[in-house]
Every structure is written in structure tokens, then in C-alpha cells.
């Protein structure tokens, strides 16, 4: 039973206030959002902060719903391969997600994230407007290709990311917003 204590200590040490692991669907997204909102309401969080946190959470959660790849390896099955966490350090919120991505998508994903991180506030605004204007419609997965740009704009911070190999075909993609 020690793992319970260990997990709790990790959560406290990392300032995590909410961790969700399991299946990700639109219904789960709504529940997680409602829980986080109630949490912020309960502590009387500033409405501007609440809106920004909500915004980043939605893009993060919907990214997982739309883009998480399936993996069956060791402890992983396609039903339990992603994680979503909210942390709070001092008065800053930290929103993190982790999900498997096929290795052949990493290069594209990484260059996209690096490009976004190379832009300043005005650059991000221009890039967002340019992409929304030029895109012909949503991707087959229903995304506008604007999620990461929006996260960077709303958080006002660089996106932190990492890829840990799971096996030869797939890696675990971690993303941190704060």
C-alpha cells in the first residue's frame, strides 16, 4: 500500500492539485473542466486567471482526445495511455499533459513547437491570424491547427515539451504550460 503514500508525496511535492489518468473523451474533458472550475471558484480565483487556465486546459484536453496515438506495450493499453495534470505553485497554474505519439510525427511536432517558441507576442498573433485565414477547413480530426499557438498566447510563456521513447515506433510526448 506504500505506493499511495508515495503518490501523494509526489503530488504534494510537485504542487499538483488534479491528476487524471485514463480514457480521454469529450465527456471526460467536460468533467475535468467542471472540476477545475469549481476548484478555482472555491478559492475565489480571479476571473481573468480562470479564463486563461480554462482556455489552456481545453486545448490541452482536446489535443489528447484528437491526437493521442494508440500504444500497446508493457503496462500500456490504448485505454490508459494519457495523463492530464493541473498544478499550482504560488499563484501560477501549471497545466501538463502526456500522451503517446507515433515516432514519425515527432519531427513535425517538434519543429512546430520550436517555431512557436521562437515567436514573441506579436509574432504569435500574426502567425495565428495567418494560419486561421489560410486554412481551408478543419483537419480530418477536427482541429484547426491553432491549439499550441493559442496555448502560448494565453499562457504568455514558452511551451515546454519532451519526448520519451516507449518503443521503436512510439514515444511519450509531455507538454507543460505555465
Amino acid at each position: 500500500m506504500k505506493y499511495i503514500y508515495e503518490l501523494h508525496k509526489t503530488m504534494v511535492a510537485r504542487n499538483l492539485i488534479l491528476v487524471y489518468e485514463g480514457e480521454f473523451t469529450q465527456e471526460i474533458t467536460k468533467s475535468v473542466l467542471a472540476m477545475a472550475e469549481r476548484n478555482m471558484d472555491a478559492i475565489g480565483e480571479d476571473s481573468a486567471v480562470k479564463r486563461k487556465v480554462f482556455n489552456v486546459m481545453v486545448e490541452c484536453l482536446q489535443n489528447i482526445v484528437k491526437h493521442s496515438d494508440e500504444v500497446e506495450d508493457g503496462i500500456y493499453t490504448d485505454k490508459n495511455s494519457a495523463i492530464f495534470m493541473i498544478g499550482k505553485q504560488d499563484d501560477k497554474y501549471i497545466i501538463t499533459s502526456g500522451n503517446p505519439v507515433a515516432n514519425d510525427k515527432i519531427e513535425h511536432l517538434q519543429s512546430k513547437l520550436e517555431y512557436i517558441n521562437s515567436l514573441d507576442k506579436e509574432g504569435l498573433k500574426t502567425y495565428y491570424k495567418d494560419k486561421i485565414k489560410k486554412s481551408k477547413g478543419l483537419s480530418p480530426k477536427g482541429g484547426a491547427g491553432l491549439g499550441f499557438i493559442d496555448m502560448a498566447r494565453k499562457s504568455g510563456q514558452k511551451l515546454q515539451f519532451d519526448f520519451e521513447p516507449i518503443n521503436d515506433n512510439i514515444s511519450f510526448f509531455s507538454l507543460k504550460n505555465w
Partner: protein, 120 residues
């Protein structure tokens, strides 16, 4: 013309499109699972309305939140409205919501339709 009158939910906005009463409004939250599917009836309605519109059309956006997939569809709606004569947009935002104000400004720069900004 038929009236579209959808109640808002926790992830979809309230929508009223009523030609006879001159009410055109999208309000609330927009983060549907499938934005393209959700907004298709609105786009179809506007195609039909555009064939024989009212002398003036004031379209109200009073959104509390929308996700990036919805933002693409909002631009599609605005692009349809651009082709309808005498259309104006009333873009409402909460008085302390700078991001929603900025989002409206950005949309207004992407289409040739007059925007009026209002706080609530």
C-alpha cells in the same frame, strides 16, 4: 424561413437565427467535440438567408469562451456574413476579458464587415 433556436450547453453555445424577428445571435461557450459538424447547420442557414436577406442584418456574438476549432468556424460564419449586404457585427465581451476583446479585433481585421464592440 425556418428558425434555428438552440439552447446553450456547457460545451455548445446558444444560437438564435430568426429572420422574421431580425435576431441573429451566438452566445455562451463553444468547445464542441466536432466544431465543423456543430456549425454546419448555421453555415447552411446563412447560405439560404443570403439569397433573400433582410434590409439590414445585425449579428451578435456574445461569447464567454470558444476553442481554436470553433474560432475557425466563427471565421467561416463571418466570411458568409461578409457577402450579405448591410451586415454589421456586435461583438460583446465581458468588461475585464481582454482576450475576448482582442479576439474580436482580430476577426474584424480578417473580414470586411463593420464591427461594433460592446461590453457586458
Amino acid at each position: 424561413m425556418e428558425v434555428i433556436n438552440l439552447d446553450g450547453t456547457e460545451d455548445t453555445p446558444k444560437i438564435i437565427l430568426d429572420r422574421n424577428n431580425g435576431i441573429f445571435e451566438i452566445s455562451g461557450r463553444s468547445l464542441p467535440e466536432d466544431s465543423a459538424e456543430f456549425y454546419q447547420p448555421v453555415l447552411d442557414w446563412l447560405d439560404e438567408y443570403g439569397k433573400n436577406p433582410n434590409p439590414e442584418t445585425n449579428f451578435i456574438f456574445k461569447l464567454e469562451y470558444f476553442n481554436t476549432a470553433s474560432s475557425k468556424l466563427i471565421l467561416d460564419i463571418l466570411s458568409k456574413l461578409e457577402d450579405i449586404d448591410n451586415t454589421s457585427i456586435s461583438w460583446y465581451y465581458h468588461e475585464d476579458d481582454e482576450d475576448m476583446e482582442e479576439a474580436g479585433t482580430e476577426f474584424s481585421e480578417l473580414v470586411e464587415v463593420p464591427f461594433e464592440f460592446k461590453t457586458y
